[in-house]
């Protein structure tokens, strides 16, 4: 075959392939550019346009007496500017401004990290005014670094307030679940730090505010390039809490390093002006804490992170006696006239066990009034033998055992509701009469939180009507004790509690409250079960096993305005140790009125 025509045939074949491909390409580009053009353009805009959230300023927390307890303070930090990579001179210059804070390798590492992650990593944080102006003056020589603003939570440094306010921390999985069920349309991805405890946690939604946005065009590596607009954030709302900060500080200082708790309830509205747990820390200390230091705090045997006021369960000891007086009188287990002979022992016929009372020789002939004023254990043990189990549980139930004790305290612990079911569940057997005898003097299975003790004091002061205490927001329903007591009985009960403080034989005679008109009940709660005074003398060698000093009270007794509970761990004497503390705290609280 002729080379030339053969060649022509093949050339034409290739030309056809070429033309076919041209047609395919034209169709493809028509599809991409004309048919799909708008859709692809939208994708491009999504590529380029982006925004970042601006964290809002969190609301302040303000005490009833006007102290700002927590607020967001603007801080300035120097961060790597992602648009320009800082050169060696800029790094040296920066170090010369902050010679003691940073060094070369550290800055270089952070710059590398910034470029890698696409985040503006902070090189120097929390500049003071002087450092800030130093930086700004030289900023043209410091290419690659820029000042960024954000907020830092500052708390009043007094440790008394930590447990009430709580603290902020990085969002965890548990926090997500917690807030998801409590905040509408919760978007965890927006929040880095959230309230971890206290009112910071409960009132997260009100305090946090709303994010602003900064819109900008970005490149593929996510480095910010051009800011094209912004939307301002909305500040969180301020929170007014019922704490009387002066009294709160005073209360903490009065504990003077001892472990314990003080709670005061305002009887006019059931708000909480004082809720102290000691020892404690300042919430500021938790802000930049290392995990090692945090672990040390957790392992501290004094448990400074544990909120005793809302979480600590203590045997109430004798301070529970007025509460059970209401129960005994309303069920006619006794009256004000009945007398028994107190020889310092209580012999429990059912088991043959002999209980040793705190006072040697006993109180002699004792009626209910004397049993309260001088705190006779045999009287109340004897009384407890008459208690009927189910109505005892009902009474506890009406006194908020096993229920929430505060509207907005976090974390928060119920005082266990003692019943047959409770004991079966925890100890595998039903309640014995002997258990009731123990509980009748505030020992055994009975345990309450200091908040609950103050509430019990409030119930007594308000003659059975009470509300659930709160720190910020009141809950509207009113609770009532399950009782049937005449006005006479109430008067007599208040009179007996007044005599505890003012009568010569009263266990609280050492308190000397002056003209405050204090009524109350002292208590000494055993940490370990003992049978004799001698045994206790051995025990008290170890401070941890010493009795807890307790006091509950209210004032003024004729028109009660405040109820208080004081628990001092291993303080031994309710009357002489816990009582005077209660007196001084109440004095401070009354000062504010």
């Amino acid at each position: 075959m002729d080379n030339r025509s053969f060649f022509r045939g093949r050339t034409i074949f290739l030309t056809f392939i070429f033309l076919a491909l041209i047609v395919i390409v034209l169709f493809r580009f028509f599809y991409l550019q004309v048919i799909n053009g708008d859709e692809l353009k939208e994708l491009r805009e999504k590529n380029i346009n982006t925004f970042e959230y601006v964290y809002p300023k969190r609301g302040r927390i303000i005490s009833k007496d006007g102290f700002v307890l927590a607020e967001d303070r603007k801080i300035f930090s120097i961060a790597v500017n992602l648009n320009v990579k800082p050169n060696e001179q800029a790094i040296e210059k920066l170090i010369s401004i902050f010679p003691n804070k940073i060094e070369n390798q550290y800055v270089k590492d952070i710059v590398e990290k910034s470029i890698k992650t696409g985040n503006q990593e902070v090189v120097v944080s929390k500049l003071n005014q002087q450092e800030l102006s130093k930086f700004l003056v030289r900023s043209n020589e410091l290419e690659g670094f820029s000042v960024i603003e954000n907020y830092e939570r500052i708390y009043d440094p007094h440790p008394s307030i930590f447990h009430v306010l709580g603290h902020m921390g990085y969002l965890s999985e548990r926090d997500k679940t917690y807030f998801k069920s409590r905040i509408d349309q919760y978007t965890p991805s927006l929040w880095r730090r959230v309230g971890k405890s206290g009112v910071e946690r409960i009132y997260e939604e009100q305090l946090r505010g709303k994010h602003g946005k900064r819109f900008f065009l970005r490149n593929a590596r996510g480095q910010k390039k051009v800011e094209i607009g912004k939307e301002d954030f909305i500040e969180g709302s301020d929170l007014n809490i019922s704490i009387n900060f002066n009294a709160q500080k005073k209360a903490y200082d009065l504990l003077n390093g001892r472990k314990g708790s003080i709670v005061v309830i305002d009887l006019r509205d059931f708000s909480i002006p004082v809720a102290v747990s000691a020892p404690s820390i300042s919430a500021n200390d938790l802000r930049d804490i290392s995990s090692k230091e945090y672990q040390a705090l957790l392992n501290d045997t004094k448990r400074p992170l544990f909120n005793r006021a809302f979480m600590g369960l203590y045997p109430p000891g004798s301070t529970i006696k007025p509460f059970f007086t209401i129960f005994a009188l309303s069920n006619s287990y006794t009256n004000w006239q009945e007398q028994i002979y107190d020889d310092g022992f209580f012999r429990f016929a059912e088991s043959g066990r002999v209980f040793n009372a705190w006072r040697e020789g006993g109180h002699g002939l004792t009626n209910l009034n004397k049993a309260l004023v001088e705190s006779s254990n045999p009287f109340f043990m004897n009384l407890a033998t008459r208690y009927e189990k189910d109505s005892f549980t009902d009474f506890l139930d009406s006194g908020s055992f096993g229920k929430r004790l505060c509207v907005d305290c976090w974390p928060h612990q119920f005082s266990p509701l003692i019943s047959d079911q409770w004991k079966t569940k925890n100890f595998g057997s039903r309640l014995f009469r002997g258990d009731l005898v123990n509980m009748g003097v505030g020992q055994g299975y009975l345990s309450v939180t200091p908040l609950h003790l103050a509430l019990i004091s409030a119930m007594i002061a308000k003659k059975g009507d009470y509300e659930i205490p709160y720190l910020v927001q009141k809950e509207q329903d009113i609770q009532q004790l399950n009782f049937d007591l005449t006005e006479e009985d109430w008067k007599q009960l208040h009179e007996s509690l007044t005599q505890v403080i003012y009568s010569r034989n009263g266990t609280g005679i050492r308190i000397q409250p002056g003209d405050m008109k204090l009524a109350g009940k002292t208590g000494t709660a055993q940490v370990k079960s003992i049978n004799s005074k001698e045994e206790y003398d051995d025990l008290r060698e170890n401070e941890e096993f010493r009795d807890h000093a307790m006091f509950i009270g209210f004032a003024p007794y004729d028109e009660p305005r405040y109820a208080i509970s004081v628990v001092i761990e291993n303080g031994e004497w309710g009357g002489s140790v816990a009582g005077p503390v209660a007196r001084d705290v109440l004095l401070e609280v009354f000062n504010a009125d």
């Binding site: 041209i22 991409l32 550019q33 859709e39 692809l40 490149n219």
Partner: protein
Amino acid sequence: MLIDLRSFLIIFSLLGIIIAGSLTVYSVTSIDAFYFVRFLLITLISIILVSLFFNYVNLNRVLSAGWLLLVLNLALVLSVEIFGKEINGSKRWLDFGFLSLQPSEFMKISYALFVIQYLRFFNFKFNIFRSFLLLSILFLTAAPIIIQPDLGTGLIYILSGLMLLFICGMRRIYFILMGLSAILLSPVIYNFFLTDYQRGRIISWFSTNQSLSEKWNILQSEISIGSGGLFGDGFLNSKQNEFNFLPEADTDFIFSIFAEQFGYVGVVIVLFLLTVFVILSMIVVMQQKRLTTDMSPYYLGTYFTFIIGFSFLMNVLMVSGLIPVVGLPLPFFTKGGSSLLCFSIMLGLIFSSRGFLRG
């Protein structure tokens, strides 16, 4: 020498493509206007100089050095292994200071010159021995390129060589057999001869999973093209390029940036110019009045014209997501020295082949 209408149109369409290419290269690198002028001038001058050189040199002389050029070129390809600089994990470039060359690019030319020189002795008659010899040399010389590893250039080289043998008249049965064996052997090649990087490119083309980074590149390329719409966003207005969303925007994916700026209209114009160039060149080659016994100028002219045409289309098919992406520069849309030099030489040879024909 008088320029007839066809030659004028050929040169006009080429000039159009070169200007479009220079504008796009400038918009991607966008240093300053002076840079653009300089770039355009360098491109044009180098094309003209190289073309004139090959036009001036007797094609017979060039052809008689065919085997030598192939050996030299192969030596350069191999020397890359020793002296080459590494980019993206593969050694392809020789650095001459003012210009980095990729010797493998030139293998398309050297092999063609060698084949034509060889076949000329036998008046372009193929027999089994010659067919096997030329095919073996093609595959053996492709091997070092593929090993570099530069599968793209290697494959393009093999396809170019096959096209040349097709043009020169090798029997059809060889192509059919090779096509069949390529299909049968492809799983073996995929599993045993490709690197992970190369497999990734192939996987990404077949996969619908957009998160694969290779697929992401193609998606970004399609976004660039589509964003141009009918009329384009205008010169220097490629946002995909400005914000670096399109990787390799200055080399393999440059046509997407062109499409974003000049729209479908721009694409149609450039493809039209390319078609004019290819078709008119073919017509010129085939309508040579004077018959010659030596077919080599026809073969060379046709071969280089189609190399330019198909290289262009292959690249465009890649960036628009129709075929897998392998590194293949777009003719005249690149600031890469090798590619520019390579296509300039091809143009020079095309022109010289016609001059040769004209006598």
